[in-house]
């Protein structure tokens, strides 16, 4: 996994709450192999009017947000299904950091596994950042994981609250399986005791 320490990039506002993983990545594309590149499927249906025409009201279709790597979204972003394709689509389209008042839990876990930051900010803060991004020519923000800081185009800095484990994984680009296999002996010891105590589960 690619480490994420600092990121200076365009941030795009997405003024929608409850954006679900069916909207992020419609289910009919799940069967596509990752090698085809999932960016083409990101927000496939909701960024279009009808069959094919891109909706220019959808921020990510606008030229000023075309190189965005950050999304500032509404509450409950990534709710719905566990499909990790939703995160692959974001990743393949270049996104590395997401801000919202809340996230679908499975989606947030999936983001972390792919080196994408999910950070919660309260609704008024999200509203203010979205307004700023929509009204200002400069849409560039700086995300600093170490100092847990988001710096806005206005120069204002907002402190983030990241969980230490998430921070550790992102900064080190950690493959969690490697981390967990370091606990191989502890897992084996736990398992042995557990199986003795609850023999019917594994027999």
């Amino acid at each position: 996994m690619e480490p994420l320490v600092t990121l200076k990039a365009t941030a795009a506002p997405l003024r929608l709450a409850n954006v679900n993983t069916d909207q992020l990545f419609p289910a009919r594309f799940i069967k596509k192999p990752r090698a085809v590149g999932y960016a083409q499927y990101l927000f496939h249906d909701i960024r279009r009017n009808g069959a094919s025409e891109l909706d220019q009201n959808f921020s990510l279709n606008q030229a000023r947000f075309s190189d965005a790597k950050v999304i500032v979204a509404g509450a409950n972003f990534g709710s719905g299904s566990s499909r990790e394709g939703a995160v692959y689509a974001l990743y393949d389209a270049g996104f590395r950091a997401l801000f919202a008042p809340s996230f679908g839990e499975i989606f947030a876990s999936n983001c972390l596994k792919n080196g994408i930051l999910t950070a919660k900010l309260d609704q008024p803060t999200i509203d203010a950042i979205q307004s700023l991004l929509l009204s200002s020519d400069d849409t560039s923000v700086i995300v600093d994981i170490n100092s847990e800081m988001l710096t806005l185009p206005s120069g204002e800095s907002i402190s983030l609250t990241l969980d230490p484990f998430q921070k550790h994984c992102l900064i080190n680009g950690l493959n969690e399986i490697d981390l967990s296999l370091e606990f191989h002996d502890a897992i084996s010891a736990f398992e042995a005791t557990y199986r003795q105590q609850y023999p019917w589960i594994s027999s």
Partner: protein, 472 residues
């Protein structure tokens, strides 16, 4: 020290702690065709599967509901056939049991898990599907995970988790006739919102929950995720133990007795407290219907489509307007006046034997006005329904009786709504495009869906004289 049901299971499974995360032991991992990314990761990183016997795989999302007797040959779309073949070759390569086409227990993972005895009280169950919350109905801590975490469980039998907060949802009072567990959970999501339980492990308690059958409890736990909760649990009781007895993986003899000693401890202690409590009065609930594109957009069957103009929150108003436009509905339109095109009875939410029995009672001797698909949740459900003659009732009414799978709930096996088509559906998500691009979904209970098939629109089934005798 007193503890909640969830805390007891959690504590029992912690291998180690690090910062604010715990490495928890996973008893069972459930896979489906979309798990191919997880197997790709295992292969790419040259990992081995630690305990193949603790993994169970299911062909459900992509299997066809028609021409099943042709096996793989019945799947005409090569991409869909590839998905069904992939799970077979991946599970074969790693020695994992597959409940595939032709298996006596083929079916939707959340229907088969409990009926095969994979699901048991006190287990930690991780599933490659968000509706893994279903298994909490038997007192397991069960939750959905993505492909990377599936690979993690396969390689290590563990997952890193920060401990969720606890939420008790107490439902009390006698339900009105015709009000099912589906109506309870839709009403709950309507009350707390689709993000209302994010970050919580939910325990459902109260006399209304206790009164529910195990299958009805599964419907409640299934849709916990639609309120944002990754897991929803119900403490095991005598009904749970009766339900489990005799299932293939359930212990027998002295092992059963030993298991019972453990299972009977799996309840929230009297003195234990939750981080949050919500109370629901079941007596006030009538049959529920979703009107929008999110499971929190719910009204009474006797109600009308809400008017966005009366919503003061601008963001919420915009969301309502968007939903109405997508759904092709007008503010203040009565729910019972909406003309429907199709009916779908199925999905991990409502495709079990009790669901089909109720649907059959409503359809018995009637004729469907609408094209109606009835998709049993599993091969076992299908056989049991046929043994009772339910399939004949459905077919005599003009409904299609199909082969088990997820079918039009997620619409990736070829079963789908056309653009603009409007369905009454017993599934769990009414998202834009969920049941087919441009398709319009109204989530309802099986009885409501069956009545809609007969009348062509939503009917208040609480008024049906026979509703009192339904075993809901």
């Amino acid at each position: 020290m007193s503890a909640t049901l969830f805390e007891k299971i959690w504590t029992n499974h912690v291998v180690t702690d690090r910062d604010d995360e715990s490495l928890i032991y996973v008893d069972r991992v459930l896979l489906q065709e979309n798990s191919f990314h997880a197997f790709d990761k295992i292969r790419r990183e040259q990992r081995s599967v630690r305990n193949p016997a603790q993994a169970f795989a299911f062909s459900d999302h992509y299997v066809p509901t028609r021409n099943r007797e042709l096996g793989l040959g019945g799947i005409t779309d090569p991409e869909i056939r590839n998905m069904v073949e992939l799970i077979a070759s991946d599970t074969d390569a790693y020695g994992i049991e597959l409940f595939g086409i032709g298996h006596d227990y083929q079916g939707i993972l959340h229907v088969v898990g409990p009926e095969y005895g994979i699901t048991q009280p006190g287990l930690v169950i991780a599933g490659a599907d968000s509706h893994t919350s279903t298994h909490g109905a038997l007192g397991a801590y069960a939750f959905g995970i993505g492909s990377s975490e599936v690979a993690h469980v396969l390689a290590t039998q563990t997952l890193w988790r920060s401990k969720p907060r606890t939420l008790q949802i107490t439902v009390t009072g006698e339900r009105q006739p015709g009000v099912s567990s589906k109506d309870l959970i839709l009403y709950l999501i309507r009350t707390i919102g689709s993000g209302g339980a994010v970050g919580y492990a939910v325990e459902y308690t109260g006399d209304t929950i206790e009164q529910l059958s195990i299958e009805a409890r599964m419907t409640v736990c299934n849709m916990s995720i639609e309120a944002g909760a990754r897991a929803g649990l119900i403490a095991p009781d005598e009904k749970t133990f009766d339900y489990m007895r005799g299932k293939p993986l359930i212990p027998t003899g002295s092992a059963w007795d030993q298991a019972m000693q453990h299972w009977q401890t799996l309840k929230t202690d009297d003195q234990a407290t939750f981080d949050r409590d919500v109370r629901i009065d079941a007596t006030a609930i009538v049959p529920q219907v979703t009107w929008g594109t999110n499971p929190e957009m719910v009204v009474d069957v006797t109600g009308t489509i809400p008017d966005p103009a009366k919503e003061n929150d601008l963001e919420r108003r915009a969301r309502m307007e968007r939903a109405l436009e997508y759904m092709g509905l007008q503010p203040d339109q009565s729910i019972q006046s909406i003309p429907l095109d199709r009916v779908f009875i199925g999905s991990c939410t409502n495709s079990r034997l009790e669901d089909l029995r109720i649907a059959a009672r409503v359809m018995d001797g009637q004729t469907c006005r609408l094209p109606t698909m009835i998709v049993p949740g599993s091969e076992q459900v299908k056989r049991a329904a046929e043994a009772e003659g339910l399939h004949q009732i459905f077919e005599n009414a003009g409904a299609e009786w199909l082969a088990p799978g997820c079918s039009m709930c997620v619409a990736i096996n070829g079963d789908k709504l056309g653009p603009g088509e409007r369905a009454a559906s017993t599934s769990n998500r009414n998202f834009e495009g969920r049941q087919g691009q441009g398709g319009r979904t109204h989530l309802v209970s099986p009885a409501m869906a069956a009545a809609a098939a007969i009348t062509g629109q939503f009917d208040n089934i609480s008024n049906y004289s026979e509703a009192r005798s339904w075993n809901l």
